[in-house]
């Protein structure tokens, strides 16, 4: 597994806490449509933009602002861990 694969898997693992089995497809869609990359091309510097888009999309699925903020915080900690 390459580093970018590992990053994609870590992002998916965080998202799984919210979307379960749908997480992998959700993250792949976010990366493909908003970053114009394949999931395997995900880089650490993409994380802020990914957080921004994912929070907006999660806002369509839930009104729980705290949950969305928690997700953003976990993703930010993931980015910090890779820098």
């Amino acid at each position: 597994m390459t580093m970018t694969d590992a990053l994609y898997q870590e992002v998916t693992a965080i998202t799984e806490e919210y979307l379960g089995p749908a997480a992998e497809r959700f993250v792949a869609r976010q990366i493909t449509f908003h970053l114009n990359k394949t999931p395997q091309e995900l880089a650490v510097e993409d994380i802020p933009k990914l957080i921004e888009w994912t929070k907006v999309t999660l806002g369509l699925l839930t009104e729980d602002r705290q949950m969305i903020e928690d997700f953003g915080n976990k993703m930010s900690r993931l980015q910090a861990a890779h820098e």
């Binding site: 919210y18 979307l19 089995p21 749908a22 997480a23 869609r29 369509l60 699925l61």
Partner: protein, 319 residues
């Protein structure tokens, strides 16, 4: 200086089950056949109730109209679930979901085919094909049930691997023990029940085929199918509790409730049909009450399935 406008997240066009429209067409066609068979049923079907012609027509209409609505609602739920299955094709839970969706279609198939065949048999009363037709009609239930509940159980078993739960817990052991007692009593009741007069019982296979044969062609398949149905219910309930994803679990609630109701109804309906000798002594009002209650339960189950499938599909459609 140009300003880049970010595109808002969109709801993408979702792939759908390619046979959906044919499924609806099949329901409408089956209902037309069923309606005609019921409206023009020979007088032999009225011997039990002794109703006037107008009362009989009204009775038949009160059955035909709701039945069509029930079948359409059920098929709508199943198609919605199949559409969701198509939407998540390739995903880790997609095979499990597709198996369960196919099992639901088989339960609807049984319901429709059983109704149409039941409406057909009076036309052959007194002919040489009547008995074989009754036997085929009565064996459809275990045949369809075995396939339907096997598919649903197989799908629920795959869900176990996704959510990481175990089916065989102490609670499951108690349920199996209770089912074993039920199965024993069911076989005992069947083995010791008197052979019914065909006219009184509304002519079923139990009054045509020897009981020792029916034990293997009806009882064993039914008990096997119902056991798989119960095991599937256990797996689906555990999946709803153990699967990751707070938003996913929230979207899953109605789907799981609907599946539990549909599977539970299917088992209850088959059990009720098999206990027809008790219904034979009930008044028509009681029979209709039970029938409509089961129909409403069945339709409610599929309504919940459709609602749940739509909520889950929303998780897949946002981008």
């Amino acid at each position: 200086m140009t300003t880049q406008t970010a595109a808002a997240p969109a709801i993408k066009t979702a792939p759908r089950w390619k046979f959906g429209r044919y499924a609806y067409a099949a329901v409408v066609l089956a209902w037309l056949v069923y309606a005609l068979l019921t409206l023009f049923a020979p007088e032999i079907s009225n011997r039990r109730f002794q109703l006037s012609d107008s009362a009989l027509l009204l009775l038949r209409l009160t059955i035909i109209v709701p039945i069509h609505l029930i079948w359409l609602l059920a098929m709508r739920g199943a198609v919605a679930f199949k559409n969701y299955s198509a939407l998540i094709a390739g995903g880790k839970e997609s095979k499990a979901i597709d198996l369960i969706a196919n099992g639901l279609l088989w339960t609807i198939g049984y319901l429709i085919l059983n109704s149409v065949l039941s409406a057909t048999t009076p036309f052959f009363a007194g002919t040489s094909v009547f008995a074989p037709l009754v036997i085929i009609r009565d064996h459809l239930a275990p045949f369809f049930s075995l396939i339907a509940f096997f598919l649903i159980y197989r799908g629920s078993h795959l869900l176990r691997d996704i959510a990481g739960f175990t089916t065989w817990t102490r609670g499951t052991a108690w349920i199996v023990a209770a089912y074993s007692v039920f199965a024993f009593l069911f076989v005992l009741q069947f083995a010791t029940a008197p052979i019914l007069d065909g006219a009184a019982a509304g002519r079923t296979a139990t009054s045509i085929v020897p009981h020792n044969i029916l034990l293997f062609t009806l009882i064993v398949p039914f008990l096997s199918a119902w056991f798989m149905g119960v095991a599937a219910l256990i797996n689906i309930s555990k999946y709803a509790r153990h699967v990751k994803g707070v938003l996913y679990r929230s979207a899953l609630v109605n789907l799981v409730r609907g599946l539990i109701v549909v599977i539970g109804f299917s088992i209850s309906l088959q059990l009720l049909n098999f206990s027809a000798k008790y219904l034979a002594t009930l008044q028509i009002g009681a029979i209709l009450l039970i029938l409509y209650a089961l129909m409403i339960l069945y339709a409610t189950g599929f309504f919940l399935v459709a609602n749940g499938a739509r909520k889950l599909a929303k998780l897949e459609a946002t981008q």
